[in-house]
Symmetry: C2
Subunit: 395 residues, 2 copies
């Protein structure tokens, strides 16, 4: 008998991946442009020109042996230094290269961090709705994920419920702002409240709780909204980042973990991260893309497309009668299902070639996630389908 | 208290990585050319021209969104089809794309496979000397690695001892041919004997044991020697491959797992692999390099360099009084230490700027590993140092 937990994970897939695969088949049947695929956070805006230019330059000019060779397990030193400098200049931190561990993207960042921190039986808290893979990642690290409710009007954490949820076994809290799937951004007020509760909990019980800030959408915010950088508010914090969304490179698997050196024992935490990465077979992050991100730090894809998509979609959906909380960041819209069961709603949406993800596995029933990181043409073309879907419930 | 096992893995590092880091510092002190760094299997032969050409062509010609986007978790379908076709044409198998799971290199391949197969408390057998990270990878998957001795004259498995080592808890056997660190290739005779023992064990006890064939060095063999393809000898087999060594791309983390579809339940095993990869945060293998390997399947770096290195080094070392078993493949030489403790020997070698890995962690005491995948110039320049090291023991 092989490991049945992993067979289960392999057979069920995530709801998102399931729909993504369905979409691929459906597109082959009726044509790419006729399927309104809002299933996956696969950016439609191409990587900025600087990425393509830098890639070509690297491959042409650099010595192939050095370029494609192993880096240190934690990442090339010059790359880590550049990442630390970039963070320091933007967020007034004082990180060194030794705080940075380059990874194969955000999922790897989160998994490695969880494996570094957790002992068997530990609990991890997050706020619903949340990225459903957190459940799988936490379980694989020997822990249990506990979701705390948010205010359904804002999707911001319910601080009172958070306070009650904290216990002896709580090892970490995952925050994800801008949020997948709600697009909500945690402002300074919310962050301060969360940190205050954790500080009180530690004072009262002696239990230290880490904040893991999963922030692949950090740069994807609209209207110049401020995203607080967790390290400046809470010492026991670890930032998990990916360049997937900001540079439109989700398939290339490149990101990092940044360990807050305001922790007295940060080198111990960093060692745990190195060890977890090693034990899970992450030898080093892809070498060419380590060099690539070093050369384009601070650049992003054209994010204005997502803002415009959001505006068009929010306005239209509200007009058709959908209940929508307008997001400030990321490229997801969290929309109330037009019937009790989101899965049935998403299934009906398929009839109109709309691929939207039922959000039960995101920890909130009765909602769907719309990943609007598609082309503006696709947004416009999809609107009649959303309209028909809404009308189908009015008959 | 964070996870102390992973802190331990992070603090100790592997002996190889430790020496690699020492080498980087030493080179900065006395110059790249003055350190004879035989620590790491980092190929010195550049990737073939076809790799550079194909990379540039892909980046220039392909649509950036598609090129750098997520692939299916198991890998792009056309890539998997090409890999299956390539294996079929070379080894007369009948694999489909659905037998192939693209990975971030060989370590990921092995870790994912172990996590797919093992339940807590299972045992995995391998043959000493072996790649020391197998111990860490197996432990992380909840199992225990058990090393079976080989014949010190040939480093081929001791079949009698293997037969005794098999037990109720044995879930898998890892074979690694061409072998790291001995360079030995398991011929057809050996493979047949191993398979026979496993078949008898299954018949007698009902225990099914998988063979995991870790073969990143498959193409690195000299004198046209034949490397049997495990799937043709044993149904319950899974092949773990990496393009790191054959294409000199170790930093890029690209490889695959091939599941033998001669197993009646191969789709179940494949699901377990998908699930394990998912739970460990391996979202997909790097997308650009998936497309790259598809375009250069069958190509390799100039392997003749390694053969020539081997010949020069073996001849010289024997002349200086070292005891060497000449390897048929990979790019490692397993040499008897000139004193009882290999660690002390490797430490003394550092005085002559020779970085060689003490092999205690490879499961055999009193040996060192020399990774001769360096430049021919480096081999020649290092010979006087090897000579002086040997002479230092004669005084």
């Amino acid at each position: 008998m092989i490991n049945q937990i992993n067979v289960g994970y392999g057979k069920t897939r995530s709801v998102i991946r399931e729909l993504f695969e369905y979409g691929k088949k459906r597109k082959a049947e009726i044509g790419e442009d006729n399927v309104y695929d809002f299933s996956l956070g696969n950016p439609s805006v191409p990587a900025p020109e600087e990425v393509t230019d830098a890639l070509i330059k690297l491959v042409i000019e650099e010595d192939a042996v050095a370029l494609h060779g192993y880096t240190s397990a934690q990442g090339d030193l010059s790359v880590r230094r550049a990442v630390a400098d970039d963070l320091n200049s933007r967020f007034s931190t004082a990180l060194s290269a030794d705080c940075i561990y380059m990874t194969c993207g955000a999922a790897a960042s989160v998994c490695i961090t969880l494996n570094a921190l957790l002992n068997k039986g530990d609990e991890v808290i997050t706020f619903a709705p949340f990225f459903p893979e957190y459940t799988v990642f936490t379980a694989n690290a020997g822990g249990t994920l506990k979701a705390v409710e948010t205010d359904p009007k804002t999707f911001l954490p319910d601080i009172a419920k958070f306070s009650v949820a904290l216990g002896e076994k709580t090892k970490a809290v995952i925050i994800n702002s801008p949020n997948n799937p709600s697009g909500v951004v945690y402002g300074e007020e919310v962050i301060k409240e969360l940190c205050k509760v954790l500080a009180e909990h530690e004072k009262k019980t002696g239990n230290r709780v880490f904040i893991i800030s999963d922030e692949p959408y950090r740069e994807l915010v609209f209207g110049g909204i401020y995203v607080p950088f967790i390290m400046n508010y809470y010492a026991d914090s670890i930032v998990c980042y990916s360049f997937s969304k900001s540079l439109s490179l989700p398939g290339e698997r490149i990101g990092y973990i940044a360990v807050n050196n305001r922790m007295p024992d940060w080198t111990e935490i960093y060692a745990g991260i190195c060890g977890a990465g090693r034990a899970m077979g992450y030898v080093c992050a892809p070498a060419l893309f380590q060099q690539l991100v070093k050369r384009v730090l601070g650049k992003t894809s054209d994010i204005s497309v997502y803002e415009s998509n959001r505006n068009i979609l929010c306005e239209a959906l509200r007009e058709y009668g959908y209940e929508v909380v307008q997001p400030d960041g990321a490229f997801y819209l969290f929309v109330k299902s037009l019937e009790e069961h989101a899965a049935a709603f998403a299934e009906r949406a398929k009839k109109y070639e709309l691929l939207i993800v039922p959000a039960d596995s995101f920890g909130v029933k009765g909602y769907v996630r719309i990943a609007y990181c598609v082309s503006p043409q696709m947004i416009k073309k999809s609107l009649p389908a959303f309209k028909k879907l809404a009308e189908s419930y009015k008959k």
